[in-house]
Subunit: 211 residues, 4 copies
């Protein structure tokens, strides 16, 4: 946080760079040592700076964690949006959404692990559940939008959309979490394939079954 000197463009640039570095280090620390061990000194130590630096750039630990959360969320969102946006049909969009989720987790294991660590701390500070629910709501809405688009276009004629997004998001997360906890026993590639196949079934289904 700038204090008394007037902000120049350069300073802001350096500042932003430092903030990025600290956020990244925080993520790294949370992912590798767990949220519980991720004290300010642990993060600072990993970043090669002193604790004071973190306090200088973030007014509290709470704020740092908020930024970490926001950063990861934006990252995931960007990654997925890009993949989905380039897809021609709702059906492909949905499959790419799911696909992208798995790919993101596989490529950014640390970030995803930190993400899971963080949102499970349901009540951070005083207000309940400041992150967890929000992000899930966004995810489901995202899926719902795709699904509704598909239904409007007539691609998924008789599909019952109610809570379907919860189901899809649940499959993705439920599998990825198991993989995070147990990368040796859980074959994430096979799981991803199977989730996509399930999706195929849903989408190709006559309304009879999954109504």
């Amino acid at each position: 946080m700038r204090r008394k000197t007037e902000p120049t463009r350069k300073a802001t640039f350096i500042e932003e760079h430092r903030r990025r570095q600290l956020i990244d280090t925080a993520i790294e620390t949370i992912a590798n040592e767990g949220l519980h061990q991720a004290s300010l000194s642990a993060i600072a130590g990993r970043a090669g700076v002193t604790k004071g630096v973190i306090s200088y750039y973030f007014k509290s630990k709470h704020e740092l964690v908020e930024r970490v959360m926001a950063d990861i969320l934006a990252d995931i969102r960007g990654f997925i949006s890009e993949r989905v946006a380039g897809s021609p049909t709702p059906s492909l969009k949905l499959k790419n959404y799911v696909s992208a989720f798995f790919d993101y987790a596989m490529v950014n294991r640390d970030r995803y692990a930190a993400f899971v660590e963080l949102w499970t701390v349901i009540a951070w500070g005083s207000n309940k559940n400041p992150f967890g629910s929000v992000s899930y709501v966004q995810c489901r809405n995202y899926i719902d939008t795709i699904l509704r688009e598909g239904q409007k276009k007539g691609d998924f004629p008789q599909l019952d959309l109610n809570q379907l997004s919860t189901l899809i998001q649940g499959m993705v997360d439920g599998v990825i979490i198991q993989w995070l906890l147990d990368p040796e026993l859980v074959n994430i590639d096979v799981c991803k394939k199977k989730v996509l196949e399930t999706l195929d079934i849903y989408l190709s289904l006559s309304g009879a079954c999954l109504k």
Copy 2:
């Protein structure tokens, strides 16, 4: 606390009663305030006693948490086993396993929430993942056993079992977690029904799709 003299019936009863109460209060605290906030004084405060009482009945906080975990695990396991054991066919067993999971979470919201809080804090103490993975492994093994039994009997002729248990467990947990975070938006009953339908599809499928 008790020492080496043989316990009288009354003393043991009171002692066990207190232990139960404290474990329950700990679960309540973890579920509602998060593991991080669940300090000994927070738990003691909720229980209406001083924190010394907790130290009196449990030799460390670690032990209390271990008991909480063991208690919930045994509870879930018992609940599900009973439901599965009474099922005549592998197919029903599987559906009842899933069904029971949902029912347990719905009836024991706090316990399930505490459970999720606990195993997500992957690194409790020094060694990584003392609880989390273990329980997932057990869940998947449980499902695998049912699936293999069904295949041996010829019920699921061409089903590819590889990682299927991960998928099933993932669906269940992924959905329940969303419901825990957002009970208003997530309709757990509808979700449960849809998961069971998906299961039906899996089991009735010719090997063509979900091989």
Copy 3:
């Protein structure tokens, strides 16, 4: 401490017996586990009773320790007095005093170790040095009395008594403490013999040297 019932002879007898047992166990605990570890529960555990019993017989831990100290002191005093009293000449009295000190320590290692542990805790409670100094003063006075008696009788004609008791007591304790800390390396028998020889030298000396 008796409370409301009138004290009967029998009760007093039992009470005294219990007190003895608890004091002995306290000594045992202090000697074997160190004063620091000798908590009320440690002592109670060793005695096979609950903490409450100790509180019943001693109004505080402070009092228990005081009794322990007094008990050991009385014991040592009795042991030594008996040996000294039976000696015909001041010279033999002195040698028997020293001799008895060594013998007491060798026969009652626990008691002596507890004694050393205790008086080193110089400031127990608020008032400084309630035990340590007192006992040393008594020891020196005891020696001084013997020495003066001998001088009066003409046995040690030109001996300078000033601080001699401190020296004698110092030799005895200084050696015994080393033996307590290191029974393998310190040969207490040889040391005792050498201390007695030194005493002989003192007593047979013309005033020229040790004036």
Copy 4:
């Protein structure tokens, strides 16, 4: 505290200064209030800082006490070595060793008192006797070396060296401890003189008596 970056001269200076101050205050506290009362807050209070400062400079209380012990030991050793090293003959070396011990105690009353407090608490932590015995062994070995050197040179022709070091060290400590407990009644100067005279007697003795 310092991390891994190379320390600047100033920082190290201030840091070392504080460490010294805290060690000195710890010694003062142990000497005057006893080890048992020397809690971190007691030490911090005496030093005029909050107890957090101690944790900042020493990673645990155990470490602080270890430093205190090492510091005193090194101090005593240095003081005595210097005095002994400058002595031409074994006989003078021995007398200067004893002399230096008294002088050190007299000039550094607190340090010596803390030293006695510390090594008498035989069981610090779990393992028995981490300091006490070690230092006595070193003292005796030191004396033994001087004695053997003298005997080799022919200065102490028929002296029996067995356990003599224990006796000499015992006299010194035994007297000093009494003086620490009772500085008014114990005249340390007279005692020192008498111990040195005893030494003289030992060394000048024909083998007849103290063989």
